[in-house]
């Protein structure tokens, strides 16, 4: 009987602490796995694993980061290799100041908010994020979408702080290049020769 009580207590605690993070986990899972089925599976697996290891969780510490660590880990081990990004090959080709060089003197450097926000849509950004190679996408989503700090991302994804920073940096450059290409393709801005 005591055992059963302890069990019910564990379940109650887990539901109260962990379940409120489901929406956040799901939206990140969707950006990582890129489709609803895998994203749902990812969230479920993360919760199952978290529940099994609940006694390893230090109460009072950051449950949200802990859940993301578990989910990121499952993604790295089980989902990551499924798809290869077409961009993996030419990341190093992007010039550091590409965007600014392209835009110098145009309306975008004078009034970037208005020009960008009017013309780039949710789906464009979503596609650009999904085109990022897995390693870059992971840190980008944890930072841009979930607002985790560099140190938290390092803990979650098991990376050195410097690696987090450099991946975020490269990820940003690739994103910018894609959004710029998109804007050019749709005739919103003209490419400098």
């Amino acid at each position: 009987m005591a055992d059963r009580k302890k069990y019910a207590q564990k379940r109650k605690e887990f539901e109260a602490e962990a379940l409120p993070h489901m929406d956040a986990l799901y939206r990140t899972a969707l950006r990582l796995a890129k489709n609803q089925n895998d994203a749902e599976d990812l969230v479920q697996e993360a919760y199952a694993k978290a529940y099994r290891f609940w006694d390893k969780f230090e109460s009072g510490s950051n449950c949200r980061a802990w859940l993301f660590k578990i989910m990121t880990n499952i993604f790295i081990n089980q989902y990551r290799s499924k798809s290869r990004s077409p961009l993996s090959a030419n990341i190093d080709d992007i010039d550091e100041n590409f965007l600014y060089g392209q835009l110098a003197g145009s309306e975008l450097t004078e009034n970037p908010e208005q020009a960008l926000f009017a013309k780039i849509f949710d789906d464009d950004v979503k596609k650009a994020i999904e085109n990022l190679p897995d390693d870059f996408r992971m840190v980008a989503v944890l930072s841009f979408l979930e607002g985790f700090s560099y140190q938290e991302i390092a803990d979650i994804a098991d990376l050195q702080l410097g690696t987090v920073k450099s991946r975020l940096h490269r990820g940003r450059k690739i994103l910018q290049k894609q959004l710029f290409d998109y804007a050019v393709k749709n005739g919103y801005i003209k490419e400098n020769a």
Binding site: D3, L19, Y26, V43, Q44, T109, V125, K126, V141
Partner: protein
């Protein structure tokens, strides 16, 4: 601080990782340097755009279904790690919720067309109804078991399931009787509604199955299994999240048909 130093801190500033002292020095530099100011402005605009657009992007349309599936998973772990414990009432409730959510999705998909996302709000009355059920023991006496002149009490006896709850609920402003059957591990929901209030969804017409002379319309997907059919003046919707449960016997009409088959 010179331009290079200011630009080196660009992303630390944008990501709010820079120290207060660094941030102040960068600000001083930007106040006096138009070139760096433009780069900072462009980069932070793009960052704001990406963050905002990312957050706008699709939330799950079926949060409640996902939640119920997670809860089922936790139930399974509980049973596995603590085999002596009896099935808990709220695990039953979670399963009922899946079935209900599935029905809401089907009905919503038909009557709302592209307005798919309204399901979340349509779902609310059910959640409230089932919270009341949570934590209560299974009833000793079967609840109300007739509706629209049909008897729903005997269905369980033939399936190994027992009728555990009855409630009136409304889906899309259509009032339905909701019977829940359970065998302790899994549950089946049967909804009954006057046929004039609820036409069987047209898009299911292709998936008809005839059994014992009754035409059923079936929906089978990753998250649920549903049967629709008409009995006298009622439309009956039988629902379960589990694929391996035979839903056909959960029909008040099945009994009549079986008897009529026995007659010469």
């Amino acid at each position: 601080m010179n331009c290079q130093e200011a630009l080196d801190l660009l992303y630390d500033i944008i990501d709010k990782e820079a120290s207060e002292i660094d941030a102040q020095e960068v600000q001083q530099h930007l106040d006096g340097c138009r070139d760096c100011f433009k780069i900072y402005r462009l980069e932070s605009s793009i960052q704001a755009l990406i963050q905002e657009r990312l957050k706008n992007n699709d939330q799950p349309a079926n949060t409640e279904v996902l939640k119920s599936r997670v809860i089922s998973k936790l139930d399974a772990i509980d049973r596995e790690e603590n085999p002596g414990a009896p099935p808990r009432v709220y695990s039953l409730v979670a399963k009922v919720m899946v079935a209900v959510a599935a029905v809401v999705i089907i009905i919503g998909a038909v009557s709302l067309g592209s307005d798919y996302y309204r399901h979340v709000s349509l779902y609310v009355p059910f959640e409230e109804a089932h919270h009341e059920l949570a934590g209560q023991p299974l009833p000793d006496d079967p609840p109300v078991s007739t509706y629209l002149g049909l008897d729903f009490s005997d269905i369980g006896a033939r399936t190994g399931y027992a009728l555990v709850s009855y409630s009136k609920e409304s889906i899309n402003d259509v009032e339905m009787a909701h019977f829940v059957y359970s065998n302790g591990n899994s549950s089946v929901s049967v909804f009954a509604v006057p046929k004039d209030d609820y036409p069987i969804p047209l898009d299911l017409a292709e998936n008809s199955v005839t059994r014992n002379g009754i035409v059923y319309f079936e929906h089978h997907c990753r998250t649920c299994h549903l049967l629709f059919h008409q009995v006298d003046g009622a439309v009956i919707i039988t629902a379960s999240e589990q694929e391996d449960i035979d839903l056909f016997p959960f029909s008040p009409q099945e009994k009549v048909s079986v008897i009529s088959l026995l007659l010469p």
